[in-house]
Every structure is written in structure tokens, then in C-alpha cells.
Symmetry: C2
DNA sequence: CATAGGGGTGGGAGCGCTCCCAGTCGTGAT
DNA sequence: ATCACGACTGGGAGCGCTCCCACCCCTATG
């Protein structure tokens, strides 16, 4: 172990600031200034230092820098492990990609933290309390998760990927669930549907509630009643969608359109519709939410509401960076537009 | 900026080793020994130190540790960004989950690095040359990627997620593509199919080649001919699958089963079969590979070969950790079993 | 012609840890 | 009783950087 370290260690002689300074014929401080882009360096000196850096292939030692400057140049992306499945498949990778894009311009590193068990959650809290990142990106937090409060308390910059309620105190990025749902239902109205039902997500999730609001708004705008028996709550799962659809058919057999608050639930609903001999879209129009791979591969392909996930990731990172740079108490809330992707199911 | 740092900085008075030592009435070295689990500490002392650590809520400063010990306690997961899409959706998140599980036990952090452009690739190389991670996990590298060689040269522990060829010099973890394909085709044989075609991935990819080998082996074992016109090369895309299937129907209209080397290609093939009025599975049996969300949601649901992706991630991390601990020149190759998931398409 | 001002620069003093050497004990063997 | 030897322990010497203060020299000013 010890030996191993030594072997890979200093041997290679990775150049240090001091060596660059010697090579360039200047002092350590000056090289540091050049590296960090300080303006207080003459052009001649700067050029000399840059040449030395290039010749020696100097790369600053991050640990030393972090220790001396008391910052880490790293942010953490915290993902509740149980959620990675729940979030429609592409979600995770797309968020990461967006975050990565925003960070590519900077020196910031991205630390990935999966939080599974409660034990791991405590470990993470410990970890964060050690101030080992400059900020945190929170994805898929439950309303009752203690993490946001903890971070708030530590006074650590945080951005959350979907506000937990109307008065989310943390900076957040969200897609426009309301407008997305409204557009979806308006589309059904435009298709001549009159008995439009919805299968909702769990209503203690803010986003799910907003989608229901959008559904109601569109019906109101069309002068259609939002009868209670047309609203069937579920839990974002396929099985839940199946149950909710069965309920709907029992309670309101005249239903001619369904807006499901997720593609996965739409898929469950689709199965029940088929079992009951209802054709899609002839008898019943079906719309999902997320525009996931499932939507594209359903039969018929599912009309769905697309969220700009990658862009959301990018926005989260940018928001966080700006909070780290200027920790003002402003807590911006960003809402990005959704887009209706029309396919054969409507 | 500067101000910000100071504000979040030392103020809070995060306890240091020295303070813990004072509190426990011992020396700095002793605390360090306890923290690092050295056996050379008496039980009494250890208990005292542990109490002090708990009381003060001490968390070691990672940067200081890294600087002093010349190691980073971090590994990088490098993902070519262009590939994240290519890898069937759940792939990425599942690998990450597996890696996370293996790392949860340790102090190692996971750094996520997306490599998009060539510019970023060069940056990464720079980065790695700065020895800022203890090891690297490589996912989805192309056969012509220069990264593996660079790492090899830097003598940095690496594990790759699918060997690039028979004689992959790096430690690697792979699923048993050969056995998976063979099992799939054997299943078709068992179903009484006699004219079994395959749609392959790009044959410069080792895994794709292995799947083709498995196909051939199963046919040989069944005493069936592997006629050239039954082998249709594609590129892992849906459109490629569509084209390949169209070709097959033109060249070998008698085909009664198709083994596609990915679910996405199977989905393309399915569309063409439908357009040609071939029923699945009555007229043509169809099998995919990956067992992705697409497979579960196709109509009919697709029989597919499941890879233990999460387990692969776990194995990769474990392999890497052991290489970091003991950098022997042994380059293990791990091959994990696949599993045939039978659904209605066969 | 002395004297402030700067812009530029060098290098000391840490940051919080690990490594390791020089102890200080206590114990069993002689 | 004496000696050798382990088991533990304390603390010095860095690790490579940032921060900052002191300093230099050159130009404008009184």
C-alpha cells in the first residue's frame, strides 16, 4: 500500500510552481498570479511564465490549491438512488450531460453522490459538513427529505431540480409542468375530444400537482367540466397507471381521451385500454409526459410532453456557479418551457 | 469572490486534527493513526480519540490529506458523451449505481467526466496527467480512442468496460456476449425455428463480433447452416435495424426468426416486419439484446438478453480499487453472465 | 532635485494532514 | 537487578499552493 503510493508518487517529478518559477526566472508568487489570471503582471513576465509552463507541462496540484485557498473547485450532484429508476430512464444521463456542459468551461469538477440507504444519507451529511464541495445540485428530493434544510443551515449554495412546493426556499430549476399539461389537454380538445380524463402522479409531489392544475386550466378554457370521476390519482408507476385506467373505465366509460402525467403510467393505461378493446387513438386518445424512450416505442407511438432535461441540467449548474461566485440571498427560480410532441396516439 | 470565500471559510472553525488531539490529550500523530485505523494504538487511547472526534464532529480535510499523502482518494468515471445516447438508456445510470455501491464502502469519491469534443478529450488527458485521480474507469471507448494508451503510459490504474479486442491489454469487465447470443439463438431453435437470421452491430466493435460468434455457434450446434444472406450487419441504431430487416426480407423471405444484437435494432426490425405483414411471433420470432425499457414496452414485449449492468459497474470499481491497492501488472478480465429474458416475441 | 506614488515582484507564513524518527514506557529474559 | 526489545506515543518536517506584506524601481509631481 505504502509502497504503491510511493511508486506512483513523486518519482515522475511532476513540476511544481517553484520549478516553473525557476525556469521562468521569476518568483513563485508571480507564477501563481499568471496561473490565476491576475492582471498585476507585466506582459513580458506573463509570456515568460507561460512559456515555462508549456515547456514543463505544468499542471497545478489541485489538493495544494484547495488546501491553501480553502475552497474545493468541486460541486456535488446528489442523486437519491431509489429515484434513479423512478426518473424515466434518460433523465439521469441527460441531466448529467447538461451539468457537464456547463462545467466544461470552468475548472469545477463534478462529484457524483448516490444516496441509497439512510446510512449513506447520514454519511453524505457528514461529508458536506466537511465543506468538501463548493456547492450542491439536488435531484429528485422528496418533500420530506432533511437534506435541503441541512444544506440551508450549513449555508452551502444549493440548486434543486424541481421545487418541492410553491414557496420553495432554495434556488430551483423546473420545467413548466403547468403549461405542458395545459398544452397536452388543449391538444386533446382540438382533436375534438370531450370526455378527457387524467391519471395524475402522487399529489404530494409539486410537479404532479402542477400537471393536474394545467389539466384543469385547459378544460376550463375549453368550457369543459372537470368532473371528479375523470381524475384518477396514481403514483407514476406502470402498475399504478393500469389501476387508474381500470378505475376510469369503470367510473366513466364514456371517456374518449386520457392525459397521463407520465409515459410510464400511460403505458400501463394503454395495456388496460387494449384489454378492454378500446382502440388508440380511434376510441381513446392517449398522451403521456416526459417523452421518454417508452413513448417513442409504444404502439401506437405516444404523444407526450417533452421536458428540456439537458437544458435543465445546464441551468442548474450555471445557477449554482453564480451562487458560489456571489452568495447573495437571492434564490432564483427558473422555469423552462415544455414542448408537446405529437405522435400517433392522439 | 475573495470575500465570499472568507465568509464561508475558516469562520465556522471546522475542527482540525490538532484540536482533536488537544481535546483527547494526545499527540497529532496518534489521532492520525486512529483516524486511519492503524493497529499501533492502545485501546484506551483509541477510545479517547474517538470520543473527541465525536464530540467535535471532526471530519478530516480531504485536500490536506491528499496533499500530504500524495494520493487523491478519488477515481474518475470517463464517459464519451456521444456514447451516452448510444448506450441503451438505462446503461449509464445502472453502471453508475453499481460503481457507487462498490465505492460506498470506501472513502473513494467518484468523479464524473464527460468527454464530448476533442478539445475536452485533450483537457482530460491534461487533467489525468496531473495525477488528480487514483484510477480511471473507462466506459464505451472506441477501438481507436487514444485515451487507453495514454493512461497505460501514465501507468495509471484503469478498468475498461468492454474489451476492445481479444487481446485487450487493460483490465476489463464485460458481459458474456457470446453465451448470451448463443442462448438466444438456441432458444429460437428450441421454438422450432429453422431459418434464423441475425442483425449485427458494427463488426469493428468487439462485443458485436462476439454476439455474431454466439449466433454462429448456436446454429452450428443445431446443425443449421449460417447462410451469409441470413447475416445482416447494422450499427446498433433503429434506422439501421430497419434497413437490415428490409434487406433480410428481400434476400431471404423464408426467414422465420431474427436475433437482433440490440433492442433498439430489434425495434426497427419490428416496424419493418409489421409493414410487411409479418406477425410476431407467429410468422417471425424476434429477440433483442440489452433488455432495455424498450424491450418491455414493445408490442409484443420483446424477448431479450439481459446484461448485469449494475453488477458490471460494481465489478469495475472493485477491480480498480484492487489495482490501486496493489498495482501488479496482472490485468484481469472479468466476464459476467448474461440471462435470456423470454417474453411474447418468441 | 527630492519625494511620493504606483505597478510589479519576491518570498515568508501558513493551510491540515501524513510520514517517520526519536523517544518513553513496560515486560520478559538473563 | 540489568538489559534488550517491543508497544506506543509525540511532534518535526514537509506536501504545493495562496495570500499578503515588504520591497524595488520608475515615473510623475511639488
Amino acid at each position: 500500500m505504502r509502497a504503491a503510493r510511493t511508486v506512483r508518487g513523486r518519482g515522475a517529478g511532476r513540476p511544481t510552481l517553484e520549478e516553473v518559477a525557476a525556469r521562468a526566472g521569476v518568483g513563485r508568487g508571480t507564477v501563481s498570479r499568471v496561473i490565476n489570471g491576475s492582471p498585476r503582471v507585466s506582459d513580458r513576465t506573463r509570456a515568460a511564465v507561460e512559456a515555462a509552463v508549456a515547456e514543463l507541462g505544468y499542471v497545478p496540484n489541485r489538493a495544494a490549491r484547495a488546501l491553501a485557498a480553502n475552497r474545493t473547485d468541486a460541486i456535488a450532484l446528489v442523486v437519491p438512488e431509489t429515484e434513479t429508476r423512478f426518473f424515466a430512464e434518460p433523465y439521469f444521463s441527460e441531466v448529467v450531460r447538461g451539468v457537464g456542459q456547463a462545467l466544461a468551461e470552468t475548472e469545477m469538477q463534478l462529484l457524483l453522490t448516490l444516496v441509497g440507504s439512510d446510512r449513506e444519507r447520514r454519511r453524505l451529511a457528514q461529508y458536506l459538513m466537511g465543506h468538501r464541495v463548493d456547492g450542491v445540485l439536488l435531484v429528485g428530493v422528496h418533500a420530506d427529505d432533511p437534506l435541503p434544510e441541512l444544506l440551508e443551515q450549513l449555508d452551502m449554495p444549493v440548486v434543486i431540480s424541481g421545487p418541492r412546493s410553491e414557496e420553495e426556499p432554495l434556488a430551483s430549476v423546473d420545467s413548466d409542468n403547468f403549461a405542458g399539461a395545459r398544452a397536452a389537454v388543449a391538444h386533446l380538445v382540438a382533436r375534438g375530444r370531450r370526455s378527457i380524463a387524467t391519471i395524475t402522479g402522487p399529489l404530494d409531489v409539486y410537479g404532479a400537482r402542477r400537471r393536474l392544475d394545467g389539466y384543469r386550466a385547459a378544460l376550463a378554457e375549453a368550457g369543459l367540466p372537470a368532473a371528479a370521476q375523470l381524475i384518477s390519482p396514481a403514483d407514476f408507476t406502470e402498475e399504478g397507471g393500469r389501476r387508474a385506467m381500470a378505475d376510469l373505465l369503470a367510473r366513466a366509460p364514456e371517456v374518449d381521451a386520457v392525459f397521463a402525467a407520465s409515459d410510464v403510467m400511460a403505458s400501463g393505461a394503454r395495456q388496460v385500454l387494449r384489454e378492454h378493446g378500446r382502440r388508440v387513438p380511434e376510441d381513446v386518445s392517449l398522451i403521456g409526459f416526459d417523452d421518454s424512450a417508452i413513448a417513442r416505442h409504444m404502439d401506437p407511438p405516444l404523444t407526450s410532453v417533452r421536458q428540456p432535461i439537458e437544458e435543465m441540467g445546464r441551468a442548474m449548474a450555471q445557477l449554482l456557479l453564480s451562487q458560489i461566485a456571489a452568495p447573495e440571498p437571492s434564490r432564483p427560480r427558473l422555469v423552462l418551457p415544455t414542448e408537446l410532441v405529437v405522435r400517433a396516439s392522439t
